[in-house]
Structures are given as C-alpha cells and as structure tokens.
Symmetry: C2
Subunit: 256 residues, 2 copies
C-alpha cells in the first residue's frame, strides 16, 4: 500500500500517487498545511529532491500550492481547473454552483448498428460490438441546456440504464457502479441547427443554431462512450486558453 523501494516504479512516482490518493480521500482539508518536505522525507525515507519531484507533480495538477517560507497547502480547485479536466455535465454544473438535472428520453439497445453508424460515423471506434443508447435532456436549474445521445458498449449501457439517470451524472455512475475510470476524451466542437426533435427538447425554434460536441471517452486505451451533445448556443459557450510556447489540446480541424 505504501512505498516499495524494490518495485521497478520510481519512488517519486509512487509517492505522488500515494499523496494524491490521500488528498482525494479527504485526509487533508482545503487550505490545510500539507506535510513539509522534511516530514515527507522522514516518512518515506527519501531525499529532498525525490520529495520535491513527487510534490511538484501535484502542484502541476492543481491539487497543491507551495509558498516559500510558509509551507505547502491543499488548494481549492478553481472552477477553471475543474472544468479543464474531463468531467460530465452534472459535475460541471455542480462545480459552478448550479443545480443539474435530467429527463430521460430513451434507453435501449441500438437495433440496427449499420444504419446508426451511417448517421454517426464516429461509432466506428466500437468496431461491430453491440451498443446501448442513452438519450436525455440535461438541465441547469430546470432549464434545458443540452440534448444528449450517449452510446456505450451494450453491457455498460444496460447496467447504467438501471441507475438513477435523472438525478445523477453518467460519469459519476460509471465510476461508482461500473468501476471504470475515464481517463481521457477527445472532443470535436461544431455548429448545427435545431431540427424539430432538438427544438422540442431544448425549447427553441426550429433552425436555432446549436453548439454540437461529439466526444469519445476512453478508459485506458478502450473507447467506452461516444456522446453527441447539442447545446443551446444562447446558454452555453466553450472557452479555451491558448499559450504561445506551451502546446494545448485545443485546435481547429478541417473537415474534408
């Protein structure tokens, strides 16, 4: 459970993971003084540079903050930081202090896979495995924000459908009930207009411009969800920060 000097995993890396776990489990409160470098050196029996490296990784992730002369502190993650990470709609709304909810429209297996792939070419990432569709409208303080079509491998999707999808976020349930950890996602942002169906769900006029996001979420290297989100563009925008030297994940894509 703790640090093993004979594992072929670098000590600084083992310590980073150990400390991250402790923070996430709530062993330290936000704003608390974190153990000093010296205490960590003694606790793990390693040198100062190894501790520094382990702690630096968590500073980078936004979990800790160092103040020279004062100490290391557990940081309150800013809304910015929370949202730059891979999060679901429910987490995102809660982080902003809004009340998320959802209305289920449909849950069930995808009957005609070939036809569905024609409409949503991105579904190819799943190969020819059977799929399960969860379709819902997500709301903020009772106002519809986005119409979501979320495709999962059949087993995952059908198990999710048994849960409280109107009161809880998909991604929370995935972790809690399926034990999957979504590590990474790729997201494409585009624009479209509301058809009759979308217009009804989102309470806008037909033809209203919508912000369209297609997201593929991965657990390890395996794709586990493809979702299509249609956001009301009058209520939701997407923000990106760009840096001259540091490569960032956002970029335009030419549609061939």
């Amino acid at each position: 459970m703790t640090i093993d000097r004979f594992k072929p995993i670098p000590l600084h890396y083992q310590i980073t993971n150990e400390l991250r776990r402790a923070i996430k489990e709530g062993h330290y409160r936000v704003g608390d003084l974190f153990p000093t470098d010296k205490q960590l050196m003694e606790k793990y029996g390693v040198s100062s540079i190894t501790v520094r490296r382990a702690v630096a990784a968590l500073v980078d992730e936004g979990l800790l903050e160092r103040r020279p002369g004062k100490g290391t502190f557990v940081k309150r993650e800013t809304v910015e930081e929370t949202l730059g990470k891979l999060t679901g709609f429910f987490e995102e709304m809660k982080a902003r202090g809004y009340e998320p909810s959802a209305t289920i429209i449909f849950t069930g297996p995808v009957e005609d896979l070939a036809k569905e792939i024609q409409r949503v070419p991105g579904l190819r990432v799943f190969g020819d495995a059977p799929l399960y569709l969860i379709e819902k409208v997500q709301k903020m303080n009772g106002q519809p924000i986005t119409y979501l079509r979320s495709y999962w491998p059949f087993e995952y999707g059908s198990r999710l459908a048994e849960e409280d999808l109107e009161g809880r976020g998909l991604y929370e349930l995935v972790e809690e009930k399926l034990g999957l950890i979504l590590e990474r996602a790729e997201q494409t942002i585009s624009a479209g207009r509301a058809g009759k169906k979308e217009a009804g769900y989102l309470q806008v006029k037909t033809g209203t411009p919508l912000l369209i996001m297609e997201r593929v979420a991965y657990a390890g290297d395996r794709p586990v969800e493809l979702s299509l989100n249609a956001y009301r563009a009058d209520r939701y925008k997407y923000r990106v920060v760009l840096d001259r030297n540091r490569p960032r994940p956002g970029s335009g894509v030419i549609v061939e």
Copy 2:
C-alpha cells in the same frame, strides 16, 4: 548573452531560455542529436540535475525528445502541437499543408466606439482607447473558410494595414513589423447563423450554422487584439483533448 551565475535568475531557467533560442534560431536541425547532458554540464559548468531540469522544460514544450540510451533529439512538432499553441489562421493552414490566402474587405479606424462596444461587448477590454478594424475573409486553397473582424489599438492596426494582409498572416506581421509577442489568448466558441453579409463572404445560404469564435490576444498583460471569427461549420471543426487528472484549458461557459 550566455549564463550568468550572479543574476538572481535560476540557472536552469537561464539555460532553458538559451537552448530554446538556439533551437528556434535553427542551430539544430529537426531529428538531430542534441548535445548530451554531459556536454551541456561541461558547457555551462553546472551539475547534472540542473541540466536535466533545463532540458525537461523543453521536452514539456514539445521541442525536444529524450530516448534513454540513445540521446536527446530535436523534435519535429506535430500538427497537434503546433495547433494547440496560439497561432493565426495562416500558420495553422501552413502547418496542415494547405495554402492560405485572404481577401481584405475593410481596414480603417472604428468611428463610433460606443456603438461598436454595444455590438461587441468584448471590446471593453481596450477601455476607451481608439481602435482600428481589419476585416477580411480567410481562405484555404482558394475556398472561403472564415470571415474575420479583428480589432486592434489604433496605432497597431493602422501600421498592420500598410502590410500585405492578403498574402501573410496577421500574427506573423505583428511579430515582424510591430515587434510584439503574443503570449496568450482567451477564446470563446459558440454557434450562430449566417446573416446576409456573412453568407455572401462565405458563399453559403443565409441561415447556415456557423462556428463563432471570439478571441482576445495578449502581449504580456496588455490585450492587443480582439477578433471575431465566423467559420463555415461544414468545413471547420474545433478539437479538444481532455484529461482526467490534468487540468486543460478547455471548458464550457454558461451564458448568463
């Protein structure tokens, strides 16, 4: 010019900047073996850990790549990396191997600032300084992709307007002619539909959905450009990668 042990700037930081400059100036070719850690230790008269730290920063920026047992190499930046950074349309298209061009629609001072701010509230970042507008259509291989309205403080804008804005990118010209370095930008992505004017410039029907980006670019802490881009959503999408642990700059924004 080189490293100064008596400056209050950390050695690793001085070395990082020195090496970055050398790479950018083309002292090493892509794929070339970069000096080994040992050579750098001797050259700068510092210890291994200081060299490692300096080199690690450039690995992080995507300029170098380390292969244990082999050496450090100058990396060809991938299209992904180039585009995650703050780049203009011309650089972006060139990085993808397309031929960018532009048609100027209008250049001139903003006459009625108060009125313009009412239409584009983002312009408030400039306070009440006089502004200059550059309006153009940007093309890829001759095809219109985006209609751009780019606002600059008067002096910068008027100087840019004297340059070859149809054959070169704004951001290149800014660096070359104005000596400004754009370090950071904040960008908001939304959806809209083509009015008569946009429809004409982009050769689409009125009402076609467009991807709308509003960007504020900064040199140091000073905002120097606010641009409004309307992209043809059938030809251009925006892509973002999200990570579970690492905060990334992309995030949704609720419109109040």
